[in-house]
Symmetry: C2
Subunit: 721 residues, 2 copies
Amino acid sequence: MIAKRTGRVTLPSEAHFLAETKEIMERWGADALRDSDGTKLDDELKALDAKIYTTYFVARGHNAFAKEHMEECQQLYLMSKRCTAVGEWLKICFMDGYFQEQVIPDYLHAPKRWWEVMDRTTGDVVPTDAWALDMRRHLVTIKAEPFHEYTVSFLVYAIWDPTQMYNHITNDWGDRPHEIPFDVRQDCSWRFAKEYLVQWLKDNPSTDVVRFTTFFYHFTLVFNDRKKEKFVDWFGYGATVSVRALEEFEQEYGYALRPEDIVDNGYYNSTFRVPSKHYLDYMDFVQRFVAKKAKELVALVHEAGREAMMFLGDNWIGTEPYGKYFGEIGLDAVVGSVGGGVSLRLISEIPHVKYTEGRFLPYFFPDTFYEGNDPVPEAMKDWITARRAIMRKPVDRIGYGGYLSLAYKFPAFVDYIAKVTDEFRLIYENIRGIRPYSGLKVAVLNSWGALRSWQPYMVAHELRYKQCYSYMGILESLSGMAVDVTFLSFRDIRENGIPGDVDVIINAGDAMTAFSGGEEWLDEKLVSAIREWVYQGGGFLGVGEPTACHANGRFFQLADVLGVDKELGFTLSTDKYFTEMQTSHFIRSDRTEPFDFGESMRNIYALDETVEIIEYSNDEVHAAAHPYGNGYGVYLAGLPYSFANTRLLLRTLYYAAHRPENIRQWFSSNPACEVHAYPDTGKYAVLNNTPQPQDTRVCDGEKWVEYHLREGEIIWDIPVA
Amino acid sequence: MIAKRTGRVTLPSEAHFLAETKEIMERWGADALRDSDGTKLDDELKALDAKIYTTYFVARGHNAFAKEHMEECQQLYLMSKRCTAVGEWLKICFMDGYFQEQVIPDYLHAPKRWWEVMDRTTGDVVPTDAWALDMRRHLVTIKAEPFHEYTVSFLVYAIWDPTQMYNHITNDWGDRPHEIPFDVRQDCSWRFAKEYLVQWLKDNPSTDVVRFTTFFYHFTLVFNDRKKEKFVDWFGYGATVSVRALEEFEQEYGYALRPEDIVDNGYYNSTFRVPSKHYLDYMDFVQRFVAKKAKELVALVHEAGREAMMFLGDNWIGTEPYGKYFGEIGLDAVVGSVGGGVSLRLISEIPHVKYTEGRFLPYFFPDTFYEGNDPVPEAMKDWITARRAIMRKPVDRIGYGGYLSLAYKFPAFVDYIAKVTDEFRLIYENIRGIRPYSGLKVAVLNSWGALRSWQPYMVAHELRYKQCYSYMGILESLSGMAVDVTFLSFRDIRENGIPGDVDVIINAGDAMTAFSGGEEWLDEKLVSAIREWVYQGGGFLGVGEPTACHANGRFFQLADVLGVDKELGFTLSTDKYFTEMQTSHFIRSDRTEPFDFGESMRNIYALDETVEIIEYSNDEVHAAAHPYGNGYGVYLAGLPYSFANTRLLLRTLYYAAHRPENIRQWFSSNPACEVHAYPDTGKYAVLNNTPQPQDTRVCDGEKWVEYHLREGEIIWDIPVA
């Protein structure tokens, strides 16, 4: 790491803003400068005593090259609309609904070889001699079964980079050229990418940090014919596909992928899908390729004496930082956007890099920085939401993005960030490399495990979805809770059993999703392993529709552990007598707010009298605990993020782990405050997580101390002997 | 029919109540007298000028016989609790949780031959050499896979009739003998049943109508070890099982049923289960047997010059009045309890009998007839709720049950029933045998079809279940609506197509239940047939989770018809743009109340811009219509019964049938009132369905007429030319 000075803060800047930049650098103690979307650093700025980050695009923004190699454009498999045959012949205009400035059909590779027409009523592939293609009209004609639904899965070339397309359309950039994404799996593109970087490093001597934005393949983002978003999957491998990739895959794996392996009924292997063996193979194949190629580029950066930083977003597919091959890339740093505790931990826990950086909100854009608006509340909310996660595992640097000239017009904001940066540095000095006190170790169990650490339930990055927030709250709560968190996949348990240090396993999600697990739960090895582990003292927390897959007389396959199941109608004939709440149960003992299970879950009932019903309303159980051997199963109907629910989860975890008394260790009586202790340093910190003053009493396990905290305050203290 | 005098009304009476009985007979125009549970008619009553009904039990109440033939007791297959093996050996006390005064294990027939130990974690049968039975302790010991769940499916003898058991325990009858149910499939029992009836007919010369209560097999009703209901299924075939039945079944069908065919994961083939081929075979087998035997008893009754009436309840299993074999029994009449329009139609539509009788509420019991309570409101509610169904298809007689001496103490009640009985007779005279005007023909489509006409969503007779009322409301609405109603099974459509006179098909229920259809919808013939029919102009109304079975990229297999599907998480990446309501849509055009979809349904979204969204809230669609070819698909999230929802359904049906304008034919502007017209007689009736006065305007298709109706009033009128 080339440290020009201390500071741990990155500032965006822009041309012709030298004096103010210097002033703010001083105020915020910034030691790095970056460009942003729409800004460039001029030479005077680059000459300042700061590290210079420069955004770098590998696979777009080089149209002179790209236009000469349109056969090396990136590709996708797309599915047409579902069309119903109303007679013997069906015509499908397969490009209907797609945006022809973004994607065009690939007619270079034989469609009969690479495309698939599917009968979606039966799930069968239509034989190639039963359909014909009219390339001029982008039309497939099918010899159909009347009143079956059909789709065409077809290959396209992507001729517009999705991020530039989004910005272009959103900002109405008119005739600015469309940046064409090319595929480094193709020979010319790869040669170009390397040679260009070598030259660029020569041309940009003042750049200290090459900020890759990002490498090769954009997450799936497809627009519709009205120039609006049609499909977005932050995890989507859609744009990694090409005929060459498919051929290389077949050569290596000994079997060919079908279009349907990628198209997947039009779900395109959403992270909500329990992944198929084929898709997992394909991901692995892409990850290895991306790591290998990215490693070569990073080596070039290092040869030029610079650092290589990756932005976690845009063209990040295949670089998964928690994946098997990420370490091989050899990156110095990762930077990512912080919208709360979950995204903070997503960045701060990334292994194999020298440092991580969180880009905080608000972005210095006119949507927040306009006359009459006060940007401080948003900044404070973002900071204190992320701060509790920093207390568990800090990023190494923080930064901001956008137009510094805009932020500069808001002195109160500049003051507040000065405070934040100081507070961050103090936290970092106090806890860097120090293990925080953790009362428990929690494992989040789903189909993805460690690969998608801190990323379950995400669709598009950081948007709120009705179907997600009641589960996302669990992760947000955990991100700043005094517990260790790990992510396990079903395969991990199948292959290696349950790690010995785990106290509580959490399985949370809607039925049949990758987060709940679906048919994974029909594996007797998996359910037996968890039952045995709970029986011997483990805790199992199910949220929503945990372990759900209807079979063998149960919906929740671990209903015996959880003590509850969901009524699907089939057991209405069985009397349900167990409805009495334990209103003073440990798990709800200090709750004063009404319960809030978010979207909640219906028709959950207790199996027998051994179930401790914690919340019962509307003729349903929403929270329950159930002794199982020496362990506990606990059920919650949902857990949107709030202080009260973070407390509920904390109590739930201690109860599930069968040691409720340990909750007193570094406990805050007021759920709006939290305590983080660092036994190796002898210090602890009390945090006010609200923008209002708070009083709380803190217990170190035995004694109680009273604290009065100002808005958002953090107090560092040392236990009194 | 032996008519002693007109009246169409049946009165319960009791010994030593002659004068009052005569008085009320006169007031209510009663022409029949019956005994009830706990009452007997004395000779003076029997000598009155009225038909005498006498309750008759075939298979219980003859303990002298039964005790000598305990090996001919009725049998059931029961499933033990689910028990988890925590080591290599698992002991299951299979009688745990059962009431040993009701059932005892059958050790007469080799358990290794007739029982089954199931591994419920894998769904596999445990080999008989891997378990041992200790008959003394009712204990099965299993060589188990650790942490698998197991159950024992075992045969028991039922030694207490469930209805008598219920009354005995509820009324604390102490040491009154337990009535033992015997099985007429066994030789001695059948001989006894016949001989006893022959003698009984001789001994009871004043009985005109033998009221069978009922024939042989009680619906499944099993108590727990706390003497409370454990399992109740009004449709359950549990008590029809016997070793002899199983052997005869195998001989006839060429394959043996397994215990699991009956136990069915502990669901015992609830009507909510899509029935298996084996279970359908078994039902048919039982129905044929019951019809054959019941026919012999009815013949004896007829030989003695009496009528045979069946009570629709208690031991009614196998007599299904809409089944294939019911007509063969040769009954004169069926009587059943009326709790509303659905149960009225359930009785009044029964084919193959000379007359039907509805027993109205309230029952003359102290729970309603106590000092200080007014029984009239309950009576009025029951009457006007059932009356709208009577207007479509009347029962031939009405009656009451319980202690007449109690009712007699409430003169206002006696007055009100006098009014009701007159009103009934007038309706009956006006519409008997006359086809009411119907604007449409509606088919309710589910796994059961005609066999369970008017019986979908029922668990225990007439109890309200959280999981049912939002669907039951559809039937209650239809029961008094000016449309024809038929019930279709998936098999009907598969074998015979959709009847030509059907205008709208309704599929309503929770996913995977027999009422929604589950995997039936993966049959391409079924979905293609319905698509084609709608395309050519049919209407398809889906309620709740219609056609739901996740496959081929859809949850609702007819999402293309309905225009909506349910988000399961897999398509969160696909943008959902279609959320705008058509607030003046025909279907909601006269709704003034807030929408009430009951339990409603979550995460329903519109597929595209062709969907007419009728109600959208909480980021979900709850009502929508969708043109499909010349027809329409319509979706509703649920339809609990109310006047407003009856109106909503009426509009939905006309809209789905693509002739909204026809709704004006015999239309009431006020949804609390309804019109029924009888074109063949030239009359129509306007009903006030509330206990308050109502004003309404009635349209005969062209002209409007104003009506002012007193509470609950019915006005008969003739169209003005």
